[in-house]
Subunit: 292 residues, 2 copies
């Protein structure tokens, strides 16, 4: 049976681009014309939606997926939640795969409420989940995989201090590898036709050697790869998360695409034209690193 | 200088009750009269606020704090966020300490957005945080401790599968103890007059021996103790998290208080009267276990 990761892989191969555009929309990314309309929580959230929709229009025929970073919406309380859900609706209507980067986690009964919140009657295909509570906090999310939903569970993150817990040595191996093996186990009943489970892992591009270890160890786990671009990861670093067929991962870029107009390279372009140009350059960089 | 934990301890000692009432409000807890007004997301969120306010009225002179479990509000999208914030406002106006149980976590820049979301211009005194990203994901929250805010970082949770990651052995000691020591380190610049830091730890009541180890190891870390009541923890289990002076922890009870009217013991009482009776019984149970 097909799972959501089959759909994601199809979309990636159709566009020849394993990129997810992160929508970590901050008010200071917006052009002056839009920023000046943002005078309170409600108008700021509206300005952010307008910005996001323009970015989505610029990307939807070349980028397969968007990842909405919840934190930047929660900042505007209920107005932010409306903005986040409107962005998801718009991206889904444009045929993109939609991920909500929420990193939720809790004990079983509460995780069930989170699974309902993000998967019942919403347009999110995937959410991110934190593994710290163990399996009973994961099961409510994996139960939704039968409804064509998926999750990415944190294994090895991209931030400088990720190693503080994630690289502690347990039985001669780093904790992230133990977590990776748990993720594989949690997803074994949700493997699609492509051989990848709807239960994936977050594996940063900032540590390619570790990504390579995880890729080798976890044959059925699809990776969401943060850390490309602003965090320092390059195409060749992200390539470590792909299998021998050039599958098995999707690479996130947030600021590098959605705020490309603020970088020297794309200066003078509109934010949507800059986003598209940056997404094309990233696609080419990944293509070269993965397939050549 | 006084920190938020000094304020919490003062309140606990004034009421002689180290209890936090969890507001994990589910629609099936509500009495028929209120439930029938809940026909969509907006009306359900309103009914939940009414229920919460009545519970708060019943508890505010005997229970020092409430903990609002975000998952049960996020289920109703933006309506839920309004309900959560209204509940916080009401509890704060009644003089209670307010905790948002959100278990947020992310890389530094994103954690900063979460810290703004929950601590800038809101009525939350504490939030819960997941330690998996390491220090750069924690610092944005501890930076807010100077503004009289606090956090509880997950160390050893109360759920059945918590041990799956949290009890893995690192250098001869369980992971939760390593995490506990990191929490102590992260909080060392935020210790109040009482000797406890504004950076606390979540330590479940369901594993009293582990709680005792953590209590002994972490002198300056105040504990938020889930797992009492519905999850099986008793007063004597929770007592393991308190120091030799009967300080150092606050014990959460959610269903056992807010849905007490559904249990055999308090059957026939209104939900608010049942909540008050259950909170009094819990206070007496804790008092006996901790102080005698």
């Amino acid at each position: 049976m097909k799972n959501i990761t089959d759909k994601l892989i199809e979309k990636i191969e159709q566009l020849k681009n394993p990129t997810v555009a992160g929508l970590d929309t901050r008010i200071d990314f917006l052009p002056e014309s839009l920023r000046k309309t943002a005078t309170d929580g409600e108008s700021t959230a509206k300005a952010i939606v307008e910005y996001n929709c323009n970015i989505i229009d610029a990307l939807c025929d070349i980028v397969p997926a968007v990842k909405i970073q919840s934190a930047y919406y929660e900042m505007y309380a209920h107005h932010g939640i409306i903005a986040m859900n409107k962005t998801a609706e718009y991206a889904a209507a444009k045929g993109m795969i939609v991920m909500a980067d929420v990193k939720r986690n809790d004990i079983g009964a509460t995780a069930e409420a989170y699974a309902k919140a993000y998967f019942d009657g919403t347009l999110y295909d995937y959410i991110t989940v934190n593994p710290y509570p163990g399996y009973d906090g994961i099961k409510p999310f994996t139960d939704k995989c039968k409804d064509n939903k998926g999750i990415f569970v944190l294994a090895r993150m991209s931030n400088p201090s990720a190693a503080q817990l994630q690289n502690l040595i347990v039985d001669g191996q780093p904790l992230y590898l133990h977590v990776g093996k748990l993720i594989e186990e949690w997803g074994k009943d949700h493997i699609g036709e492509c051989g990848y489970s709807a239960v994936g892992a977050v594996v940063g591009a900032t540590n390619p050697e570790e990504a390579r270890n995880l890729r080798t160890a976890l044959k059925s786990v699809f990776f969401l790869v943060p850390g490309y671009g602003a965090q320092g990861g390059k195409g060749k670093d992200a390539a470590a998360s792909f299998d021998e067929n050039g599958r098995g991962a999707i690479v996130n870029n947030s600021r590098g695409i959605m705020a490309a107009h603020l970088s020297d390279k794309y200066k003078g372009m509109t934010y949507s034209a800059a986003a598209r140009a940056a997404a094309e350059d990233m696609r080419d960089d990944l293509y070269k690193a993965i397939y050549t």
